[in-house]
């Protein structure tokens, strides 16, 4: 096996429809995920994240380029790659007429695990995801968040060498999201590798060793969350609710983003006193906080991650 869990080179995917225009979903994506890493793909809707994950998980054929999972060519020899992977599909649901316990257990059995191992992993996974109390209720009676937890529990229980999770915590409450994060951290400590997509920037930051920001089918930037935040040009963000009208007065401090009357200024720590003085003299209120991935994303993509 190679040192990387996943490697793609100039991966392209063009969707063609009868009578309609072609759509280039991936425009040459190159990336690598090292073994034991947790890597997040960040991007707006339609950026190409799910297409990449579907190709990587052997569910879609690329138009050109190459992609390997543990050294196995995913497009040419998907059968070789499949035993190494497990996937939480976007908007995937468990069988409504299985209980979470049955769903996880039977799934592990289809992957070839022995009865004893499947049973032990099922119980552990259900407990980790907080599903023990509802483990014997049919999924049709569960809430959307509980069903999503069942999907994640199913895939986590595989402890597959490479896990793909497409928006894994969507629809979950904050406690359940943290259960997911904790479970994924444990999995990588045990040697699994994780590639996930998410719309939650806090999730990407809290969970991933490295991030790829994708827009219009291209990787715009990659690195650690700290790398990306540093690239914004400062480590502090000053928020001035009525400051947009005086944006020119603040430009010398760093990058300014005006949104309606609201102004955000990215500033280095050594200039924060000077900036606050100016705000006070201008009779403006201002609050200081750390730069987040939101600012990094905005700087790189030019739009918010939630903007359609």
């Amino acid at each position: 096996m190679t040192g990387e869990a996943l490697r793609s080179e100039r991966l392209r995917k063009v969707y063609t429809t009868r009578g309609g225009p072609s759509v280039e979903a991936l425009a040459g994506v190159s990336m690598e995920v090292r073994r034991g890493e947790r890597v997040a793909l960040l991007g707006r809707n339609g950026a190409g994240k799910t297409t990449f994950l579907k190709i990587a998980s052997t569910l879609l054929r690329p138009t050109s380029g190459s992609i390997e999972v543990f050294g196995h060519d995913v497009a040419r020899n998907p059968d070789r790659a499949r035993p190494y992977i497990a996937v939480v599909p976007q908007e995937g649901k468990p069988f409504f007429h299985l209980t979470p316990r049955e769903q996880v257990y039977t799934y592990l059995r289809t992957r070839g695990l022995s009865r004893e191992t499947a049973k032990a992993r099922t119980e552990e996974s259900l407990e980790r995801m907080g599903l023990t109390e509802i483990a014997d209720r049919l999924a049709i009676t569960l809430s959307g968040g509980q069903r999503q937890r069942t999907m994640v529990a199913t895939v986590i229980a595989t402890e597959a060498p490479l896990l793909f999770l497409d928006e894994p915590s969507i629809g979950m409450d904050p406690f359940a999201r943290r259960d997911v994060w904790e479970s994924l951290r444990t999995l990588t400590q045990r040697g699994s590798t994780i590639l996930l997509t998410t719309h939650y920037l806090d999730e990407a930051e809290a969970l991933s060793h490295r991030l790829y920001i994708v827009e219009r089918g291209e990787v715009l930037v990659s690195g650690t969350a700290d790398d990306l935040k540093r690239s914004v040009g400062g480590t502090l963000k000053v928020t001035i609710p009525q400051g947009a009208v005086q944006v020119d007065a603040f430009r010398s401090f760093g990058a300014c983003v005006a949104d309606g009357e609201h102004l955000s200024v990215i500033v280095a720590p050594e200039r924060i006193g000077e900036l606050m003085d100016l705000a006070v003299r201008s009779r403006l209120t201002a609050t200081v906080g750390p730069v987040t991935l939101e600012e990094a994303f905005l700087r790189v993509v030019g739009r918010s991650i939630n903007e359609e």
Partner: protein, 253 residues
């Protein structure tokens, strides 16, 4: 990584486990589903009242068409899993082979709903009094009709993006294969000019062969050859195509 969990790929890996999964799903579904499978049995009451002499023919037709209906259920189930649940992605992006997915799904449905057909079989035995060879023939024909319908259903299921569109086609199949051709009524009542067509449609071909076996219809040698040959060729070719198609469509058709 649990490298010990990584299994080598094989053509039917995971078949029994996925069959068990699907059977569990079906077993948990409500009784209405099972009831729909015995609707032919209920309709036999009318035959019993209106034309008791045809009850044997109708029972054989009900058995064969119930098998067809169970095969057809694969169309709805496979499409539902793929479109509404995206659970096919969960299963196929793993060591479960595409062939095992298709067959596990089909047989999983079959084993749960087989009971009503067995009941029809017992009724037929009481009414007709099958010779041992006829029982064997009936089992073979029932298996062929089911395999044809399941294979056709699975292939068709991959073409749809909306579950509601499938209802129309299910109804079309039901009428084209079960109501119009001579499945529930004697083969001889079907217009002579159209009889070759009926012998090329698996459910009516199987019904004609069974009617011939129990003495309810007399087929010529040419008709027998057409029915047997057609049923064999169509069932095997549609099944093999479904196996190939199951693999091909994992990464998008």
């Amino acid at each position: 990584m649990r490298s010990s969990d990584v299994v080598a790929p094989a053509p039917f890996r995971g078949l029994l486990a996925f069959l068990w999964t699907e059977a569990l799903v079906q077993a948990h579904e409500n009784l209405a589903m099972a009831t729909s499978m015995v609707v032919q049995g209920v309709l036999l009451v009318f035959v019993w009242i209106l034309s008791p002499g045809l009850i044997g023919v109708a029972l054989v037709g009900a058995i064969l068409f119930s098998m067809f209906a169970m095969g057809q259920r694969v169309l709805n189930e496979a499409a539902y899993i793929r479109i509404d649940h995206k659970a096919n992605d969960l299963y196929l992006a793993g060591p479960l082979s595409p062939e095992a997915y298709f067959l596990g799904l089909s047989v999983g449905i079959l084993v749960v709903y087989l009971t009503p057909v067995v009941i029809l079989g017992v009724l037929a035995e009481v009414v007709i009094g099958f010779a041992p060879a006829s029982v064997g023939l009936l089992l073979l024909l029932a298996a062929a009709v089911w395999l044809f319908a399941a294979s056709l259903g699975y292939v068709f299921s991959t073409f749809f993006r909306d579950n509601r569109a499938i209802w129309a086609y299910s109804s079309l199949f039901f009428n084209a294969f079960g109501v119009l051709p001579p499945v529930f009524y004697p083969f001889g009542k079907f217009p002579t000019a159209l009889q070759p067509i009926a012998l090329l449609m698996p459910p009516s071909a199987a019904a004609a062969l069974m009617q011939h076996a129990i003495g309810a219809t007399a087929l010529s040698l040419g008709q027998l050859e057409l029915a047997v040959g057609g049923l064999l060729v169509e069932t095997v070719s549609v099944f093999l195509f479904a196996i190939v198609w199951a693999r091909r469509t994992v990464q998008g058709a």
